[in-house]
Symmetry: D2
Subunit: 204 residues, 4 copies
């Protein structure tokens, strides 16, 4: 039978980005903290688990003390209800909000898919996205696929475009993707062909 310190270490190793040495160091760190702090941390975990819900419109996690089933962004009537930005994960949404450059609605896919996946529907919430964009009385007119400019992001874009195409045609919904070009920090000495091509086409 494992001792309590080893059990804690093994659970900590499941955390993303935490290696075996750091897990052990964290376990000792937790145990050396005073009891009140550990109690507070454990309570915060349980509280987050109990109070954080998945918004039934955009699928993002949001903290709710009440019986609300929609997050603050989805309930905000000042947001542009014609645009739906589809992102991979909660932290992408948070980062985009932080840039202050987008004022429409969101949808969180919950992951990416790859061309090699047999069942991409299990990796990303496409069925929920389909349901979202076909809600009666909805005002969305454009879906912006805001995936990272990586292989997984591009595979996911390709899959979504194909999956959503018939519905978008039927409902007169435009599908767009984020513009490509030089991003902050790009140096011409190292620019790749895809980025250069987009940067030339998109010159202004």
């Amino acid at each position: 039978m494992h001792d309590t310190l080893t059990t804690l270490t093994e659970l900590l190793r499941e955390l993303p980005g935490i290696g075996p040495r750091q897990a052990r160091r964290l376990a000792y760190w937790f145990v050396r903290r005073d009891h009140a702090w550990v109690e507070r941390f454990a309570r915060a975990l349980i509280a987050a688990r109990d109070k954080v819900k998945t918004c039934d419109l955009c699928m993002r996690l949001f903290p709710s003390e009440h019986t609300a089933s929609r997050c603050s962004l989805c309930s905000n009537h000042h947001r542009d209800a014609h645009l739906l930005l589809v992102v991979e994960k909660d932290v992408d949404l948070e980062n985009i909000e932080k840039t202050g450059t987008y004022k429409g609605r969101y949808f969180v896919l919950g992951g990416t898919t790859s061309n090699l996946d047999k069942e991409p529907e299990r990796k990303v919430r496409v069925r929920e996205l389909l349901a979202r964009i076909t809600l009666p009385n909805d005002t969305i007119s454009e879906i912006v696929l805001a995936l990272s400019a990586t292989t997984e992001g591009e595979d996911t874009v390709a899959f979504l475009k194909e999956y959503l195409a018939p519905t978008c045609t039927n409902h007169a919904l435009k599908i767009s993707i984020l513009g490509r070009g030089l991003s902050t920090g790009t140096e011409l000495e190292y620019v790749d062909a895809d980025t250069m091509k987009s940067a030339l086409l998109g010159r202004s």
Copy 2:
């Protein structure tokens, strides 16, 4: 008032080696885990807090289901009771045990001190160490200061040597420090003067 997700993020930021972005990512990760896992993790934290004790002989943390007040190393009669290896922290002790090269007893200082510290006694458990080496009927004959070969380690060694000197003289206790020289991976092209000097003196 903070929402539960932000509260959890802020507590996670207190963890050593976790930056603001990783804290946020971990908070989301915890909330996305199934409820049973979060419950299990919280229970493991509380259990570790409740079951892990500080050994009253070597000051290391050890998991104990019973009423034992001494860790397994201190209670092990096969360990050499003439040698006491003084280390900074629990993970140092664990790593040294893993090398399988030391068979004596340990003492965990709980930190390091610097030449600039006004009250070094508050940074390291010297009073407890003094008590440990003056236990009646004890058999220790040599104290090995096993601190890292860093500025803090060397400052701590200097402080301990001076602090323990009178007692060691009175009790005929030898104080030693770990040998210096080339460590695994040291390249002669980059070797520093201190290491080279020790390596030359310690040639064999």
Copy 3:
């Protein structure tokens, strides 16, 4: 008086990106090479110095065995003579050529300038650029400022736009800059406000 090895080391330290240790290692490396190789290298240096010219149209360096005063790109009648891409340095031009995405002409500025520079004309070849775009019988209709998406790049773009504005108006020349947006590898979790704004505006 310096010995020859130290003299060589000091000259090698002037090379961009070479630190003192690497300079020393290179000096020994050169001396350990066989004599024929060193001879060949020295000859290649002198040959490059003697044979490489600055193209009097685009200011890039080009190797020329003959009396040509224009580089192969400037003499190539299949390149689009309506577009002039202004780059900072020779390796930028080479990298863009490697992407195979641009078929027009080039101009090499030879550096960047900063808003703090008192005499930006001394950092970048603007006078030569002005001469280039006002050549009689020239067919250029658009100047694309292809600077890196860095502070220096943006300062240089701002300076060039202002400096060239009157001439461009007089000669009906369009000035454009490369499009901004997600570049290959950009992750939404880390995207900055400028890039996100451009990516949204440039969605397609």
Copy 4:
């Protein structure tokens, strides 16, 4: 046929630690330097090649204007003539000299060997070393093998010990290796078994 810039780039790619991009950047850098500098650099290369000799006693490279066949260290009568430190390469010797901790003689092996090498004599100057330690009227009494604490270093030490053993026995020469232990910067949390074992044995 290659142009001169490409020829120079390809020669620069042979330099140790220089990748293809840096080679190209260096080629352009050389060509952009003024002619006098390139001339000076080429002359320094040729001068180093012509003036730097291999010391016929220790095999190190040394700059010599005269007809001397021995380097300044080998001709220096104040160096301890009882100790011979065997190092892998010239920069190791230079670094050890810089530490100011060694006052004896040197021998430069010119490389390392591995247990897998069929003909280790071709990788390291053992025949020259053997000749060196059996010089008539020589006063060496101890050979210190100062190889890096790496696999190659240890393989080389093992080979040298075996190769030199009969001669050392016949000539009453002691063979030693540099002391192992904590080197500057070693942290106990990460120390490996070999280093810990040496550090414990060498405690003082």
